[in-house]
Structures are given as structure tokens and as C-alpha cells.
């Protein structure tokens, strides 16, 4: 198979890029999706709203996913479902397998839009036995919203991110009554609006509490938690692990591509390019989770860059300047590589902090301050710092001067 642009992943970012490239006149676009249907994670999110930014209306996840796919196909992109990319090669070339068996695809551009997944029990290092009934939100929502199945009745929920409340809603819709929401941190992570939900639903939230052990041989029978009141056992028939997203960058790791340990995703420049010629990346693969709308916007942005790239209009990657992070409170920042000529298609540096911070965010180059912005930020808030119209030469550094 041959393509001008091969897009891996038919979620909001991949489908937005496909539609946008098609509208810009790029002809041979294929989208490779390993699931049986396009749409990505929104397909099995039970909650609204989706689509305000993209379609100027409020849609459910499944309807939103269908619209994205329809729009991409209307723009001329071909979506191949049940098609798994097995390996990335220079060229770019891809090893695929689909209903017809294995094959090779060569493309002028490969866009990686493989998204994100929640951390597993292993990655969270939760000890104990290994019974059935330990799920992530993604798995739960697939069971409830795609299959109308109920994996448990009285689970504990770990996490208080936005997705944790989406999981809580899914539980409610399925007649599942969570025993508690457990948050290792001192605060509920998601913003105030969502934080009242468990109160409304009668689910206690336990802060500064960890799950130290899962109990049960065949099915979950309970968990041991450790919190302000010391360790104790609570009965539950499931454990719902929510959030703690990490990039689905397996293909990249296997291909020996550089991953940013801060984002768990690829290193990109202001055009969404990777170091490997012909490879671009967009969406939730880039960093821990943002909304579908943000991914959609990321897909459109990278499509603009790819269109210029196809006409040979992007600057040589060798001119790129690495962005060094010098403040311990900065959890991640991207794009990781900027250009002397200016912002490209990522107009801003996007970052998050690892703890509440107030002070001044500073971008400097060769010792001189080139951009500054007061910040008062919480970990769950996205922070953006506009990239100056023109940068000079020399190494870039991002820092925070914290208030005393």
C-alpha cells in the first residue's frame, strides 16, 4: 500500500487531521485504526458534552465520533479499521496487519495519533492478590456503553481526575454503586464543579489515602487503604483505576524513537515533527490527557504543518533549538523544540505544573529573558505561554520564579 499521508489512530486528532488535509487538497490519505470502528475513546464515553468547538453543538461521545469519521471520509480520507500497525520504519514505512493478513505501507508522511491510556495497576504499583474485577475507566466504559455489561456492583474508585467523575457517571448509569473515591493527594484533582458530584451521589471521597493492597483470590473482595486514620480494610467487589494517563507510544519505543520522560510521549518541534524524517505526532499521544476538543485542534494544527511539509516548505530540522526545563515544579512542556524563525504552528508552549505554584513563568535564551508571564497554577490546569514572534540563536530555558 502507498499513501501520501498515513495517519495512525482514528480518534479526534487523527480524524481532524485527515479531514483538514483532505480539505486542503491532499489526495491520498489513509487512516489506520485497530479497533472495529473509528472514533477513538469518545466512542465509549457516556458523558456529554462533545463537539462544541468542532460542530458548534452538544453531542454524546458516540455521535461525536461518527461525525468526525464522516467528515474525514467526506474530505476524501480512507479509514481502514481492524488494521493494526505492528512496526514503524524509516522511510517512513509501516508494517501492518489487517483482515487480509500482514502488509507493508510506504507513505510520504506518517502522523502518529495513537492517543493515551490510563495507568494500570502494575504501573501504580498496587500490591496484593490478582483477582478479577480490576479495571480502568476505559475498560469499564467499553463494557457498559458498548456491551451493556456490568463488571462489578460495589467498586472503589481510585483517582479524582476529570475522568474519575466520568467513571462515576458511567457507574451511575449502569446501576453500579461505588463504595468510595480514593485520592492519594491532599485535594480532589478535578475542578470544583466535578468535585460536588460524589457528594450528590453519596460516594465518600477519601483524601490523602492510598490503596496499598487488593484482596480476593478469584474476584475482588476488598482493598486495604492507608490514610489519615491509619490502614484499614474496606469491602468492595471491584477496583476502578481512573486517570494517571500515559502516552500510547509503544510503537515509537519499539522503533527506538526518543520519548520525553516528562510527557511519556514523543519529542516534537513547533511543527509537530519528530526527529525521524516524515514522522509527525498530534493529540493525546503528546502528553497526558486533554479533552477531545483539544486533540481535534491539535490534529488540525499538525495538518497545516503537514500540508506545508508536502510542498517542501518547513525549515530544516537541524535549526531546531531544544527547550530546557529548569524549574522542578514544571511537570512537562511542549513542543520540546523551537525554531529561531518563530512559532510555526504551535503558537504557544503548553505546560503543566506538578504542584500548586504562583510566580512568574520565564522563557530565556542565552541568559536573556525573552518572554514572561505571571502564573498562579494548579496541577490540573493547562498553562500556555505564547512563543515570541522571533527567537534568536542559542539554548532556550523555561523557568518559574516563584513568589516567596
Amino acid at each position: 500500500m502507498q499513501a501520501d499521508v498515513a495517519i495512525i489512530g482514528a480518534g479526534p486528532a487523527g480524524l481532524a487531521a485527515a479531514a483538514h488535509l483532505g480539505l486542503m487538497g491532499v489526495k491520498n490519505i489513509v487512516v489506520l485504526e485497530r479497533e472495529p470502528e473509528p472514533g477513538g475513546i469518545p466512542r465509549h464515553c457516556g458523558h456529554s458534552p462533545f463537539g462544541m468547538r468542532e460542530f458548534r453543538r452538544v453531542l454524546g461521545g458516540a455521535a461525536y465520533a461518527r461525525r468526525l469519521a464522516t467528515r474525514a471520509e467526506a474530505a476524501g480520507a480512507r479509514i481502514h479499521c481492524n488494521t493494526t500497525v505492528i512496526a514503524l520504519h524509516p522511510g517512513p514505512e509501516l508494517d501492518l496487519t489487517g483482515p487480509g493478513g500482514a502488509e507493508r505501507l510506504s507513505a510520504r508522511v506518517v502522523l502518529l495519533a495513537t492517543g493515551t491510556r490510563e495507568s494500570s495497576r502494575v504501573q501504580r504499583m498496587i500490591g496484593g492478590q490478582k483477582p478479577g474485577g480490576i479495571l480502568t475507566t476505559g475498560a469499564l466504559q467499553g463494557m457498559v456503553h458498548l456491551n451493556h455489561q456490568r463488571p462489578f456492583r460495589r467498586p472503589v474508585i481510585l483517582g479524582t481526575e476529570l475522568v474519575s467523575f466520568s467513571a462515576l457517571l458511567t457507574c451511575r448509569q449502569a446501576g453500579i454503586r461505588p463504595v468510595a473515591m480514593i485520592e492519594p493527594g491532599a485535594r480532589v484533582v478535578a475542578r470544583a464543579g466535578a468535585a460536588v458530584l460524589p457528594l450528590l451521589l453519596g460516594v465518600p471521597v477519601m483524601r490523602e489515602t492510598r490503596i496499598t493492597e487488593i484482596l480476593g483470590r478469584d474476584r475482588v473482595e476488598g482493598v486495604v487503604i492507608d490514610g489519615p486514620g491509619g490502614p484499614r480494610e474496606i469491602a468492595a467487589d471491584g477496583v476502578l483505576l481512573t486517570g494517571a494517563f500515559r502516552s500510547e507510544a509503544t510503537l515509537m519505543a519499539a522503533a527506538g524513537m526518543t520519548l520525553d520522560p516528562r510527557t511519556t510521549g514523543p519529542e516534537i518541534d513547533v511543527f509537530g515533527r519528530l526527529a525521524e524524517p516524515g514522522y509527525f505526532a498530534a493529540g493525546n499521544l503528546l502528553r497526558p490527557v486533554e479533552t477531545a476538543g483539544m486533540c481535534w485542534a491539535s490534529g488540525r494544527r499538525v495538518a497545516d504543518a503537514i500540508a506545508v511539509h508536502l510542498t517542501g516548505g518547513l525549515p530544516c530540522p537541524a535549526q531546531g533549538l531544544s527547550l530546557r526545563i529548569d524549574a522542578p515544579a514544571i511537570r512537562y512542556a511542549l513542543p520540546q523544540i523551537l525554531f529561531p524563525a518563530g512559532p510555526g504552528f504551535h503558537k504557544s508552549i503548553q505546560l503543566r505544573v506538578s504542584r500548586p505554584v504562583s510566580g512568574e513563568l520565564r522563557l530565556s535564551q542565552g541568559g536573556g529573558l525573552i518572554a514572561r508571564q505571571p502564573i498562579r497554577a494548579l496541577p490540573e490546569r493547562r498553562i500556555t505561554l505564547p512563543i515570541p514572534r522571533k527567537l534568536g540563536e542559542g539554548p532556550l530555558s523555561l523557568d518559574i520564579e516563584e513568589d516567596a
Binding site: 494500570s120 504501573q123 504499583m125 498496587i126 475498560a139 467499553g142 463494557m143 446501576g175 509503544t250
Partner: protein
């Protein structure tokens, strides 16, 4: 329900029980296998280091050594006929401290005495040439070319399937409750009904002494469960070691092994922790962290590699190091107890020994099961057309492979059983992507379902 009088009832469908059932069935006996769990391989056989050992370090002159040697030889002889993988990567026995180094010559002499004569001493430079990622403070070691990687579950399933092909029957959820010896036969009362058999083989693993007491009123050995925790790294880490990396063993344990798996991961483990409980295979984060550090002292490049799974196995050790195998043909009983750590390597050899004790003449297999290829470097189903698409994206398991594991001679009865047959959810996402599809594909198929029920009112 199993009808009539069986020649042999094997209590316990672990790897040893399955191998014994296979041997007797091939030899022409009418065999029944009793298993208390929902699916086979649910006790000691569910977690191990997946190595086919040569027996180079087994106690000289022991029955264990004989069984390992015979089991090793038979596995190598039959594995290709059943499509079972074998990665003959060899092992390096490594000395990191002076006293370990001093023990090397003695171990090499022992290896030669055990019939493993092809070991070769290696100095630091030679070791680093063979394994460039080894920590450079390794002192010396020797290579055991015959040590190999296998698939612990496919092997045991293959033994079971071949037993069934030769007429054996499998009774699941059949816990032995009471037993009576009447003249020339046993009457066994199980949670799945009563059966009769001429000979009983106690291969109950972690419950061996318990089953012995049910059969005879007493037990001449005591099971002392020994837990082994493991961590498993994601596939990129497998490039860091070609050989199985073994430390110089102690009296108690072979020590912490670092090796690839046949599935393309890299494992570090096991620990050796005595405990009372026969079922609680809990993992402890602090111990897993210590394993990670041990791994990094052996292969420094493991730092930064991702751990994608952890597990613990329970070894059915007894109060003595030796295998506790004994036949009492007057009573119609062969006891196979205390197979503490080498059961996977020795299973086929133990089966030969047990058949000899029971006085069976060796038969010739008529049929051979063709096992699915799950090894990383094998011709996997996802590469073939018509596979129905991939369900488990991390381990590249197809819809056709899952369908096959839900059919066949001993269909999967639980998610754990399906994992062992296909590798679903064993990868880095631990079921984030495929759990929903698996729940759909398996609905109504398991005696131990994934689900707590259907949604009454999905919104």
C-alpha cells in the same frame, strides 16, 4: 459426569498432573483428572520462571535430577510435534562476589557429574563479550548451553490435550472431599460427584499433604508453600540479555534470575518466601522494588525500562528438599509431592517415573495436539489472513485465537485460563483496550465469569 471405573485418577491438573495423565493415557489407561479450580494450571503452575532446566545444579544422585534429565530429554524430543516453542539460549551462572567465584569450580564439577558436561568457564571479558549489557563488576561465570526458554502454559496444556486425545477425561471444580479404598478400587467423593478408580495419583501440588490425609488419614510430608514474586519488563527490555542470567545458587534457592521470556519480555525473580497460606500469591510493592534494584545491579540498562506486569507463584515445597514421590500399589496410591521448583522441567520425567512405579508398559502416542504459536518469534496468527482481527493489541492476540481457546479439548473457563491459553491482557495496558471486547466475546462461556451481571438500565 464421569462414568464407570477409571484405571487412574490423577488429583490435580497442574503441569505435573497433566504430564502424568498424558503418560498413563498414552500407555493405554483410562484416566480421569480431577481439578478443584475452575480451570487447569490454577495453583503452583500458574507462575514460574518458564525455564527448561538441564539439571546442572540439581542434587547429585537425586530422584529430582533423574526426573529433570528425563523430562528435559523428552521435552526436546516431542516439543516440535506439538508446536511447542524452545529457545535454546543457554544460561550464564554468574559470580558477583569472591565467595561466589570460589564456588564456581565446584558447581562445574557437579554439572559434569549430573551429565551436563558442556559447561565452560568464562572470565569477565568473555562474559561481557557474550552479554555486553552485564554490569562490568561481574567477576566470572560459566555457560550452560542447554538451559532453554519455554512456554510454561502451552506445554502443560499440550500434555493435557494429548491425554484427552488418548481418552482421558477432565473434571473441573472437583475438589476431593473424602475417599474410601474398597478391595481393588478407590471411591472418591468430590464436589462434582463421586467416581471410582483403581489407582490414585496424588499430584495436588500445594494441597498435596491435605489430599494425602484425605486418602490415607495421614500425610508423611508437609507442604511449606514458598512464594516467589516476579516483575516483568516490557518487550524493549528483552534486547538487553540473550542468555538466562543465574546467580551462583544457595542451598535454599536458585536465586533471582534475569531472563527473557518466550513471549519477548524480560523477567526478574523469583523471591523465596516461606508462608503458611496455600493460595495467597500476593505481591508486595517493596519486594517488587527490591527485585527491580537487583535487576539493575545485574543489567544496569534496565533502569528506565518499563515494568508492565508482576506476579507471584507459590512453590509446593515440603519440609525436605527432595521430591516426595512414593508408590503404595497395595493401596493403589502413588504420591507425587513436594515438587518444589523444578516441576516444569521435570514434569515429563516425573510422569515416566510414576508410570514405571505403577508398572505400566510404555505406550506409543497415536495423536499429537497442535498448539497455537504464542512465542514472540514464532509464526503468530496475526500474521496470517482470516484471523478475525486483533483483540489484545499489546500481545497481538486475534479473535480466531480467542475463539479457539473457548473451544477445543479443554475450553478456558475463566479469564485467567484464557490468559494462559492466549496471552490476552498480559501486556503493557493490562486490559485497558481489550477488556470490554473480551467480556463481550466470553459472555456466557466461563464458569467463572468476568462480569458481575448485565446492566439493567444503561444510559
Amino acid at each position: 459426569m464421569a462414568q464407570g471405573v477409571f484405571d487412574v485418577a490423577v488429583v490435580g491438573a497442574g503441569v505435573v498432573g497433566c504430564a502424568i495423565a498424558r503418560r498413563f493415557a498414552i500407555d493405554g489407561a483410562r484416566v480421569l483428572i480431577l481439578e478443584r479450580a475452575h480451570d487447569v494450571l490454577d495453583g503452583a503452575s500458574k507462575g514460574n520462571s518458564a525455564i527448561l532446566h538441564t539439571g546442572f545444579d540439581a542434587p547429585e544422585g537425586s530422584l529430582e535430577l533423574d526426573c529433570i534429565r528425563a523430562g528435559y530429554a523428552e521435552y526436546r524430543e516431542i516439543h516440535a510435534r506439538m508446536n511447542l516453542p524452545l529457545d535454546p539460549c543457554g544460561a550464564l551462572v554468574l559470580a558477583w562476589a569472591e565467595e561466589q567465584q570460589a564456588a564456581l569450580p565446584g558447581l562445574m564439577v557437579q554439572a559434569a557429574a549430573n551429565g551436563v558436561g558442556d559447561v565452560e568457564m568464562l572470565d569477565r571479558a568473555a562474559l561481557l563479550a557474550l552479554e555486553p549489557q552485564l554490569a562490568p563488576d561481574v567477576r566470572a561465570g560459566f555457560r550452560v548451553p542447554g538451559e532453554a526458554l519455554i512456554d510454561p502454559w502451552s506445554a502443560a496444556h499440550a500434555y493435557l490435550y494429548q491425554a484427552i486425545q488418548h481418552g482421558a477425561e477432565l473434571l473441573l471444580r472437583a475438589e476431593l472431599l473424602t475417599a474410601e479404598r474398597q478391595a481393588d478400587r478407590w471411591r472418591l467423593h468430590t464436589s462434582a460427584g463421586s467416581i471410582e478408580a483403581g489407582l490414585v495419583v496424588n499430584a495436588a501440588g500445594l494441597w498435596g499433604d491435605h489430599v494425602e490425609r484425605i486418602l490415607t488419614g495421614e500425610s508423611w510430608f508437609q507442604i511449606r508453600p514458598r512464594k516467589g514474586q516476579f516483575i516483568l519488563y516490557d518487550k524493549p527490555a528483552a534486547a538487553l540479555a540473550g542468555h538466562i542470567l543465574l546467580p551462583v545458587p544457595t542451598k535454599l534457592t536458585k536465586g533471582v534470575v534475569v531472563c527473557r521470556t518466550i513471549f519477548g519480555n524480560l523477567l526478574v525473580g523469583p523471591t523465596a518466601e516461606e508462608q503458611e497460606d496455600r493460595e495467597d500469591a500476593s505481591v508486595v510493592p517493596a519486594t517488587l522494588e527490591a527485585l527491580r534494584q537487583t535487576g539493575e545491579t545485574i543489567l544496569p540498562a534496565l533502569a528506565g525500562q518499563e515494568v508492565t506486569a508482576f506476579y507471584a507463584g507459590l512453590r509446593p515445597a515440603s519440609e525436605e528438599k527432595a521430591y516426595r514421590i512414593r508408590a503404595d500399589l497395595e493401596r493403589g496410591l502413588v504420591t507425587v509431592g513436594g515438587i518444589r521448583s523444578t516441576g516444569l522441567s521435570a514434569a515429563l520425567g516425573i510422569a515416566q517415573h510414576v508410570a514405571r512405579l505403577a508398572g505400566r508398559a510404555p505406550g506409543v502416542a497415536r495423536d499429537w495436539p497442535e498448539m497455537p504459536v504464542l512465542a514472540q518469534d514464532g509464526a503468530r496468527d496475526w500474521q496470517a489472513p482470516g484471523n478475525g482481527g486483533i483483540v489484545c493489541h499489546c500481545e497481538l492476540v486475534t479473535r480466531r485465537e480467542i475463539a479457539a481457546a473457548l473451544e477445543g479439548p479443554a475450553p478456558a473457563q475463566s479469564l485467567a485460563g484464557l490468559k494462559r491459553r492466549t496471552r490476552v491482557t498480559m501486556g503493557r495496558c493490562q486490559g485497558f483496550y481489550c477488556s470490554a471486547e473480551l467480556a463481550r466475546l466470553t459472555e456466557g462461556r466461563f464458569t467463572q465469569p468476568i462480569l458481575a451481571g448485565a446492566v439493567d438500565h444503561a444510559g
